[in-house]
Subunit: 769 residues, 2 copies
């Protein structure tokens, strides 16, 4: 772990000094996005060293043919691949005819990169001596506009230091791009038309197969010492490329600047014949507004986000930087504006996991979005699944289920399953449970029952049907068992009676039955409508209940713990502590079969269940299970440490909770798992947020009230967070000796603090923690 090159800072991610070996990692860490598009922090100018080029457009993917050595029935025909999109950020820079390329420069000094999270921009500055001995100072800044989310802007300045120099800026668009993840050297884009007009250029291209039409566009303005100059560009264009060369003889000490505006228009938002027209509009407005005024709007937009979502930590700059990095990246990835979009595990920072939707959204992200944005954002994430219900029923049908049972996909772009490892695709069925749980969680937090009666119940029913059909009655145990599953701990495959899955299945059925009763009693119109649609019989309900009432849970009397799965105790139970450091991470050092035989847990599995269903277990239960499983947990999933942090805090093990907190919040910044070059772990960042709010802050919903058991790591002076809760905005400020609750918006609110009811007026209430 430990990049160690990121400077601690409250608001920024800062790298100083140029090191070619760090380029790909930094490209991930300094990624920018605006919910509609995003980019790795690739240099604008040419770079011949090792780099991972990536520019991504939300919702634009490619259904790559599933190719496996050995096909298994039920495999999806394709897997969705997030596509590196046409490049609009590129600016070739030549100095006296020599191309600027940090990899081949004679000397690079004063290199500094900053991702300013408060204001939402990325900058870079350096001095470089080229092979032709011209020394230059370069300053760049770029951002993807929150205000106009089809637009990005770049400020790129070069000052020759030791001589006059002829400098050419050659901003370009390029749709001849490839994917990093292209096993088969395939091309994924068809360029339809390259056009240019005055200082504007457009590339219309569509993705193959999926036919997503896009227009990538750009326009540039050049300046000397901040004064606009007019240069007739040298235009180059071919079948998938367009560039304008702005050549100027720049005097020593003069600063030659280009402002480049660019971005994407997609046919999700406009008719495909109108894309160029819309691009022109966006450019016109951008150029009229100008870089600095656009940047000002960017700062304001980010200020509004932080106003609701910021968490402050005093006395621990690395912890502060960590949580802000997490909140920043989540907001760069998803802002809840478009219910057709969702949150990919790597957001716009890499290609891995196909940029698709996983159960991460329901299990981790929804709580964050509920508390930091309007509740309609979380509801929109729920609706995403409701809109895919028919496809989830089809998907279950392919696996032999019937009668409206649904299996939501493990990985999806459009509701269809698009992952192809049988042990995941077919067996990691707990995802279904997380989708039901999210419905419950949304209602618990927002109190908004309308979603359940309008849409949610149909999802709950389809999932309950799945569980009933998926369970097997074991004559031998005289119980229902669930055979052949993979739990959240993916270091076990095809196991029987995964405790978490069995528990979730039972809960899903019971919760669905409960809601059917409630809707029958309280909303008879909805009840009739839904029953007409789903055709539930008494016999079927009885079958559900029989499964829920007679579910089997593996348990060890010796250890007094639920077993992760049947046979867990047959393993060689050597704790992680006793494992040679050289053997870790085991997912990089061990063969798959060795991992499977080992007791090591990739991510919270039984403990994930204890997290979801906390109220159903005593603190002593939790402690026993935590003490049993934590020692075997290697946390090689980004989703693991946050849950352990929350539970350690609950068990008053603040030192351990703090360690897990750092691990989750600085997972990428410190590169714990040696993989940050592939992109960031976006969805687990919501877990970081939970580890402060639910872990240290002890925030829970009790009945219909917010409840807190505030704690604070000894390393911190104080910390604060805000919550959007049922038409209130609360600010919670926790220091070593007191906690302040403040209602920033909304009426008086009754909350629970350390198990006592407290009435919050619209002013500061002081309660000693």
């Amino acid at each position: 772990m430990n990049q160690d090159y990121i400077k601690p800072d409250n608001w920024s991610i800062i790298e100083e000094g140029f090191d070619a070996k760090r380029v790909e990692s930094s490209e991930s860490l300094f990624s920018i996005g605006n919910g509609a598009m995003g980019q790795r922090a690739n240099f604008e100018e040419h770079y011949s060293g090792s780099t991972f080029q990536g520019s991504y457009i939300a919702g634009v993917y490619y259904p790559d043919k599933t190719r496996v050595g050995w096909w298994k029935n039920g495999y999806p025909e394709y897997f969705a691949k997030v596509l590196n999109a046409p490049n609009w950020i590129g600016i070739h820079v030549s100095i006296n005819g020599e191309q600027l390329d940090l990899f081949t420069c004679k000397k690079v000094t004063d290199f500094r990169r900053e991702l300013n999270m408060q204001e939402g921009w990325l900058s870079r500055s350096f001095k470089a001596t080229l092979k032709n001995n011209i020394e230059i100072q370069v300053e760049t800044k770029r951002f993807l506009s929150l205000d106009s989310d089809e637009l990005g802007a770049i400020d790129y300045s070069v000052t020759p230091i030791n001589n006059d120099a002829e400098i050419v800026f050659q901003p370009y668009l390029d749709s001849g791009i490839t994917n990093k993840d292209t096993n088969w050297d395939d091309k994924f884009w068809d360029t339809i038309k390259v056009s240019h007009e005055n200082h504007q250029a457009f590339i219309q291209a569509k993705t193959m197969k999926t036919d997503f039409y896009t227009c990538t566009f750009m326009e540039s303005k050049v300046f000397i010492n901040n004064k606009p100059i007019l240069i007739e560009p040298n235009i180059k264009a071919d079948s998938n490329y367009a560039s304008f060369g702005y050549q100027h003889q720049v005097k020593q000490g003069e600063t030659y600047t280009i402002y480049k505006y660019g971005g994407y228009i997609v046919d999700r938002n406009y008719d495909k014949t109108q894309l160029v027209l819309r691009g022109k509009e966006v450019l016109k407005k951008a150029v009229e507004t100008g870089f600095h005024a656009l940047l000002e709007k960017q700062k304001q937009a980010w200020a509004a986000i932080w106003e609701r979502a910021d968490i402050t930590i005093q006395g621990d700059v690395k912890a502060q930087q960590g949580i802000r990095f997490n909140i920043f990246q989540l907001n760069q990835t998803y802002l809840g504006k478009d219910s057709r979009l969702n949150i990919g595990p790597k957001g716009f920072t890499g290609e891995k996991y196909g940029g698709s939707t996983y159960w991460d959204t329901e299990a981790y992200c929804i709580p964050f979005y509920m508390a930091t944005k309007d509740e309609k954002v979380a509801r929109s994430l729920l609706e995403y699944r409701y809109n895919h219900l028919e496809k989830a029923i089809e998907n279950a049908g392919k696996l032999g289920f019937n009668n409206g049972a649904a299996l939501f996909p493990m990985v999806t772009m459009n509701g269809e399953e698009c992952h192809n490892e049988w042990e995941i695709t077919f067996e990691e069925i707990h995802r279904n449970g997380a989708i039901s749980f999210a419905i419950y969680n949304y209602y618990r937090y927002t109190g908004d029952y309308s979603y359940i009666k309008e849409k949610g119940l149909e999802v709950l029913i389809a999932i309950a049907r799945f569980w009933q059909q998926r369970a097997t009655f074991s004559e031998d145990k005289n119980k229902y068992v669930i055979l052949g599953v993979t739990g959240p701990n993916e270091y076990e495959n095809n196991i029987n009676n995964n405790w978490y899955t069995n528990y979730l299945a039972q809960w899903c059925i019971n919760y669905t039955l409960e809601n059917i009763d409630k809707i029958e009693t309280e909303f008879s119109d909805d009840f009739t409508r839904i029953m007409n649609k789903v055709k539930l019989s008494k016999t079927e309900l009885k079958a559900w209940k029989s499964v829920a009432d007679n579910m089997y849970f593996p348990y060890s009397e010796t250890h007094q713990v639920y077993l992760q799965q049947d046979g867990f105790l047959d393993k060689e139970l050597i704790t992680v502590e006793d494992l040679d450091k050289l053997e870790r991470p085991i997912n990089q050092k061990w063969s798959w079969d060795k991992i499977l035989r080992s007791p090591y847990i990739k991510q919270a599995d039984v403990l994930q269940g204890f997290y979801f269903f906390e109220d159903e277990f005593s603190k002593e239960d939790l402690e026993r299970h935590f003490d049993f499983y934590e020692p075997f947990t290697v946390h090689e999933s980004s989703l693991s440490p946050c849950v352990h942090s929350i539970q350690a805090a609950k068990l008053d093990r603040m030192e351990q909770a703090y360690t897990f907190y750092l691990r989750t919040s600085r997972l990428d910044l410190d590169d714990y798992n040696h993989e940050v070059h592939e992109g960031l772990h976006i969805t687990s960042m919501a877990g970081t947020w939970m580890s402060i709010v639910e872990g240290f802050g002890g925030m829970r919903i009790k009945g219909d009230k917010l409840s807190f058991t505030p704690k604070i790591p000894k390393q911190w002076e104080s910390y604060s967070f805000k919550l959007n809760f049922r038409n209130h905005i609360l600010k919670i400020d926790i220091s070593q000796n007191q906690t302040n609750f403040e209602v920033l918006y909304g009426d008086d609110l009754e909350i629970i603090v350390n198990d006592k009811l407290v009435l919050l007026k619209k002013k500061i209430l002081k309660a000693t923690s």
Copy 2:
């Protein structure tokens, strides 16, 4: 199942009538081979209908890049792919300028195909009316020479029936071929040189990556009414093709014949610079000898094989045809001449399973070759593994094993693992046990201990080491367990305590310990040499013994049976009989997860263990286990029915044994598994042989004696087989009321018949069965 178009015949496979839908299946069924090369029964002339072109050369493969969606540590870099080799059998035929193509002819009648197994040739005849209304009679015959295994010969004759016609025979060589199994449209052959000289042509080509150099060659002679004629051919040649056009004005009723000689020379046998030269030698000899004399030699060579290997069955032509088809195909695939070669599951009849070596060789094929050929053939198959021992140790090393532990590959061409499904590659470790068992089986049958002391013990030790390291001590069970395996029943993956695997592991260790003792006592020089090499300590031996002595075996008290694996009784135990016919075969109808959850057994698993270690269980044990497992066995592996047939016979359930016999012997002829178009199931054909000899004949080795408990299905009048046993050749003749044993070669021999000692003189002994 049931092709139903193959005519019952004692010695031939016969198809009558042309049906384009059957072409691919027939291409498999009528395949020919000579151990060094083989071909699907593709037509010589052009065919535009659906066809699966395949010509294969033993030992020539391609290491295709392993491409999986999700890489797992330990996966091999490549999988070996059997390659469709350059085509030498092709003869384009044109009649008055129209290409003969059975798919587009106006009319095809009197179509007949025959694979004569007694004499080793394939023929075809038909009448066709072309679109130009010329009616022709075509007769073809071809064979791959056993006598000169680089050579094949074709006799192709056309007789215009209703008119004179200008006929062109255009024999060709083509290295611009592709593979059926080419997911990525790759080419696998580099053509180096196309050359021709007089009536001969040569294509020198090498496989990509593996650099197997080959020369494909041909020479043709043409005749009218059996009289040679001289025609100056019209030569065409390009970068991967060469053809000679022999044009002739043929009178109505005259027969125009071409004899084409062709084949492959490979650099396994000759220096790569000498391949063309060697090709010329082969052609010179072939042309001098002539088609008919070559065919005569072919008949003699096959007569010699049948003399040793034939099994006769009187009174049941389908059963007779089945066993001969099996014996014939085994001999077409492997003749034991070259210890670098082995027996691929599809032989030379298709591409599936990569043409590589599986555990099938040890578990199924070795007994057949021991009994029907000289014992050096079986020994050579054992040596194949010995020669790969270092690679098997490397392979185990990749998976984390050490200290000389070996894991032999699941699938291999050259000793390296080349399969890439984790549940098979890493977990189907029982293959290691079959390799040890084959060493024991060879010694048991041949009495030749020299192999064990010279080579075998090293293999046994490396395998014992693997088992000791692979077992895990379960504190919970106070026993050694083996976690995360796939047994022979591949419809279970990543299971714990597969009874068969655990039993085999225990046996391997014990058998190795026994042989270490024996060699220490009886062959001290060998002992010293081996111990110097393998460095075995007393501590290690103690660790082995501890594992063997404390192995866990899952057992059900209720059912009084060993359980296939932990948790088997949790399944929904619905027998195959109660399964809807429409659901079968489940491997085509069900998703993988559903198969895994089900109780259905792809192939004998516990029963495989009872087969290997028969003497360690009583007949009652066998009966109980057979009755428990057989009802769940779907026999969707070709390797399954033979074992059940043998065991049913042992249990005196002759009707059931007979059904299984038909299933194994006519698996391909009747296409039980709907897949014969992909190629034949070669290795399981040895199982068919076992089901007669060991099943009905009850042949076993007891101590150092052959033992028999002869039985006969009521459908048969009598049957006979021969055995090569320790310098004797025996003929066993079993009819409904008696059994005759005859020593055809060798001294007097004491055998056991129905548990009684019998001395066989060199003359017929009659024992009433």
